[in-house]
């Protein structure tokens, strides 16, 4: 009999309690149990960054954290940050600069980009590229993504 555990956590500001199998990843819990399908599942071993979510304010890989480990945590996903308008400037810049084509990487890319913006520094293009190095985009070639992030950072100036 597979072990299941009870967890209680806050997801996008709402407290939720569920029973989850020990081996379930945070990202599968968010997508399948809570139907928050904005965060994507790509490689499932921490390489692609499509599952990037925020836990207690820090970005993490949703596929490299167990749902049980999120017990008591504050989890934020692309849905929460879109609804709160926290990502509005980035989303606008991504849209205007064509910084996405298929859009699969975009939720994770936005989470990583916002993490950099919140640091409040003025990163160079090289530093922007380093910060999103853990988020793969197979369509754009990254140029427009870096442009969009840079625009938002400069706009804040």
């Amino acid at each position: 009999m597979e072990q299941a555990l009870d967890i209680t956590l806050t997801v996008n500001g709402t407290q939720v309690s569920r029973r989850v199998p020990a081996r379930m990843h945070l990202i599968d819990f968010l997508r399948e149990d809570l139907e928050l399908t904005g965060s994507h599942v790509g490689c499932e071993h921490g390489v692609c960054g499509a599952c990037t979510v925020r836990v207690n304010g820090d970005i993490v890989r949703g596929c490299l954290m167990l749902a049980v480990q999120a017990n008591g945590c504050r989890v934020e996903t692309i849905e929460g940050l879109s609804d709160s308008k926290e990502l509005a400037a980035l989303q606008k810049a991504f849209h205007e600069r064509n910084a996405l084509q298929c859009g699969f990487c975009t939720p994770g890319m936005l989470m990583a980009a916002q993490d950099l913006i919140l640091k409040g520094k003025k990163p160079s293009r090289e530093e922007i590229r380093n910060h999103i190095s853990g988020n793969y985009c197979r369509c754009t070639g990254y140029q427009a993504i870096v442009d969009a992030i840079e625009e938002v950072i400069n706009g804040q100036g």
Partner: protein, 265 residues
Amino acid sequence: MKAAAFAYAKPASVSEALELLRQPGARALAGGQSLIPSLNMRLSSPELLVDITGLPGLSGISFQGNSIRIGALTTHAQIEKSEEIREHVPLLSQAVPHIAHAAIRNRGTIGGSLALADPAAEYPACAVALDAVLVIKNKTAERRVKASEFFKALFETDLEPGELLTAVEFPVAGKSDRSVFLELTRRQGDYAIIGLAAHNSRIVFLGAGSTPILIQDISVQDPIAKAKTILAKSLNPPSDLYNSSATKLHLAGVLLERAWNKLST
């Protein structure tokens, strides 16, 4: 892929964790940034995961006069941000940005990296270069092992079943000490093709063998040409999917040359 089923326990204390780790098939789960991928790919299938995250006493950076003690659960991100580490163990500060990506550095831990002993990882090479001491506990005792004696073979360490790495101690760097960390990758955050962790004349390569490789009989007083000759005799890096042994050896020489000015002045 999805991980195979396992049992999960979240102990409330280190002693409870050590009791659980005595069970056959038990494995400690720290940041999980290497363990969980290996579970997902079903390369490993422990029966019991003992989640040590959040255990009191295993996290944090403390200054102890001649050394800096870093708790095993201290994350890469915490080390990256630490002013104390920047000042007293600058080799680590230089190494951390090379570890994977921001989201992974937020969860991965120094203890996890050392205990896993990936030969391409940054911390094991730094620990050997700096002559760090690893603090290991089991149910009844604590022991201390020098980094140079800790890494035994590919992914093999001195850790015995039922033991837990609880902290690592680095000597504080003096004013005349020189530290250089360099790494070559195809993309930022990728596994190292080859890397160098050097503290004065203790020059260690990562990604160059089954453990961190300390180059014997090399001195920063020597001219670089002599050092490169010693390197060529001492290092025999295994080829990987993309780079031959000869390429890696050449790149090791390139890194040594880049490091030499800073090390020798």
